[in-house]
């Protein structure tokens, strides 16, 4: 039935009209149907029959299908069943109210676990379901982000890789939700990832911190060891990393004497000046200049930082910044 219904709305509607959906939902009930093989096939059919079909999606929810799928996702010991259930959840979760219903049924945690388990097919389905659940739904974005960060912190290297990919997908697919996604992560956990994570996890942690550091978490970031690592990132060869590191340091320094002192003491001034030097090759793009200048301006409040900026030759590059008329370069942030 699933194969027949694939990308065919006429057949999807016919199956529903003839009562097929109701029977399939009943077969998802583990008390009535304990056979894992059948459960997997039924979940697969559910995915195909509801894919792109809002009426069928709604009908499955009304028949209690989400609760059965959630139960299978949490309790089934079968990898194939979990993978197909993830596919069904992916297919079902187009409408906002259904995303909420699926999240309320505690499925996000098991989906993140499935993502980390290692089978390519299961991981792909889990990633798709998580992406769909998070799309345009802030509460789900926050929950998915927090659980993916936990997987980044505790999973195998392969699981971390998949978690990082899922996080970047969430970011890319929700351009208006960057602040909410960035703020969802625990600052101390993000700093730990920045220090010890795999390269993609470090990149994600830096992106997140660059958007989310606020007065409420400046102390946590500094006490967790974030200052030295953020300073290290200023010397990264990728401009978007330089820009984010300068942005994060600027936010860390804002109106906070202790964090400013820590940045100065741990050697943050010179690499910030290096980013705005006019003889830098290749020259820093506008966005890097902006963030580095802002960070230096934030630091310059303190006499100790002022003396470092002056002695490190910071005045001439700042004056050059005043003189040049720069046009923002489209594509400055392209990944090498």
């Amino acid at each position: 039935m699933g194969e027949l219904a694939r990308n065919n709305k006429e057949i999807q509607d016919a199956i529903s009209r003839m009562g097929g959906l109701k029977l399939l939902v009943q077969l998802l009930d583990t008390e009535k149907n304990p056979d894992a093989d059948v459960q997997a096939h039924v979940a697969h059919a559910m995915m195909e029959i509801t894919c792109g079909n809002p009426a069928n999606q709604k009908a499955v929810v009304q028949m209690g299908g989400v609760l059965h799928l959630s139960s299978l996702m949490k309790l089934s010991q079968s990898g194939p069943v979990k993978a197909e259930v993830a596919g069904a959840l992916w297919s079902l979760s187009e409408a906002t109210d259904i995303k909420v219903a699926i999240a309320d049924a505690s499925t996000i945690g098991p989906l993140v676990m499935l993502l980390g388990m290692g089978h390519a097919f299961s991981s792909k389905r889990a990633a798709a379901a998580l992406g769909s659940l998070g799309r345009d739904n802030e509460a789900n974005q926050i929950q998915v982000t927090q659980m993916l960060i936990e997987l980044l912190s505790t999973g195998s290297e392969a699981a971390q890789q998949r978690a990082a990919q899922a996080l970047w997908s969430l970011v890319k697919e929700n351009p208006s939700a960057h602040d909410a996604i960035a703020r969802a992560g625990d600052p101390a956990a993000l700093v730990e990832l920045l220090i010890k994570g795999i390269p993609d996890a470090q990149d994600y942690a830096l992106w997140s911190l660059s958007l989310s550091i606020s007065p409420a978490c400046q102390a946590v970031v500094a006490q967790s060891g974030g200052v030295a690592k953020l300073i290290d990132k200023l010397a990264d060869l990728r401009v978007e990393i330089q820009q984010q590191a300068a942005d994060a340091l600027s936010k860390l320094a804002l109106n906070n004497e202790e964090t400013r002192a820590a940045i100065t003491k741990q050697g943050g001034v010179l690499p910030l000046i290096n980013l705005i030097r006019p003889d830098r090759r290749p020259p820093s793009p506008e966005v890097v200049l902006e963030n580095a200048a802002k960070a230096l301006a934030d630091l310059a409040i303190d006499p100790g930082a002022r003396d470092k900026i002056v002695s490190a030759g910071g005045i001439p590059p700042l004056v050059v910044l005043l003189q040049e008329r720069r046009v923002p370069l489209d594509g400055d942030l392209s990944v090498p």
């Binding site: 970047w168 970011v171 890319k172 351009p175 390269p199 993609d200 990149d203 992106w207 978007e240 506008e286 966005v287 200049l289 902006e290 200048a293 802002k294 230096l296 301006a297 310059a300 409040i301 006499p303 002022r306 900026i309 002056v310 910071g314 005045i315 001439p316 700042l318 004056v319 910044l321 005043l322 003189q323 008329r325 720069r326 923002p328 370069l329 489209d330 594509g331 400055d332 942030l333 392209s334 990944v335």
Partner: protein, 151 residues
């Protein structure tokens, strides 16, 4: 790794912001120079020797945004505590542009401009010019209105 699509979104947003608000880098450079030169004569001189006064004066016209205008007023206010710098600001035609800032809507910019003029007036040679510019402002309310709108 941060995806290309995200990079383009960020870049487009930055370009739009720059069009609306002028050069952010210039604004922060002015802020940094203002803070570096506050109550520190040697740094005030070093900043002037590096050629900061002329571009700071140019930012006063608001063409790079009101924030850059405000920060440049702040930097010139800080630099004007030094005699050599007071003369340099006058030589760069700074008095007229600082006076114009008194007519803008931004209270902080007005206060910084006022403070800068007070410091510039320490030099006897500047006083006549400052008075002339202030009187011109009073005599020409249309120009005043135009400056308010520009700010």
């Amino acid at each position: 790794m941060c995806p290309d699509g995200l990079n383009h979104q960020l870049s487009a947003a930055r370009a739009l912001a720059a069009q609306e608000h002028g050069s952010v880098a210039k604004r922060f450079a002015a802020t940094a120079l203002a803070r570096l030169s506050t109550d520190h004569e040697a740094t005030q001189l070093a900043i002037a020797e590096a050629g900061a006064i002329a571009p700071l004066v140019l930012l006063l016209d608001g063409s790079e945004g009101t924030e850059a205008q405000t920060e440049s007023a702040g930097a010139l206010h800080a630099l004007a505590s030094n005699e050599h710098n007071r003369l340099a600001i006058t030589e760069c035609d700074g008095i007229g542009l600082i006076t114009n800032v008194l007519a803008c809507d931004n209270e902080r910019a007005r206060k910084l401009a006022e403070g800068a003029l007070v410091r510039l007036s320490i030099e006897h040679a500047n006083r006549a010019l400052i008075i002339k510019k202030l009187v011109e402002m009073l005599q020409n309310p249309d120009a005043l209105l135009g400056q308010e709108q520009a700010c």
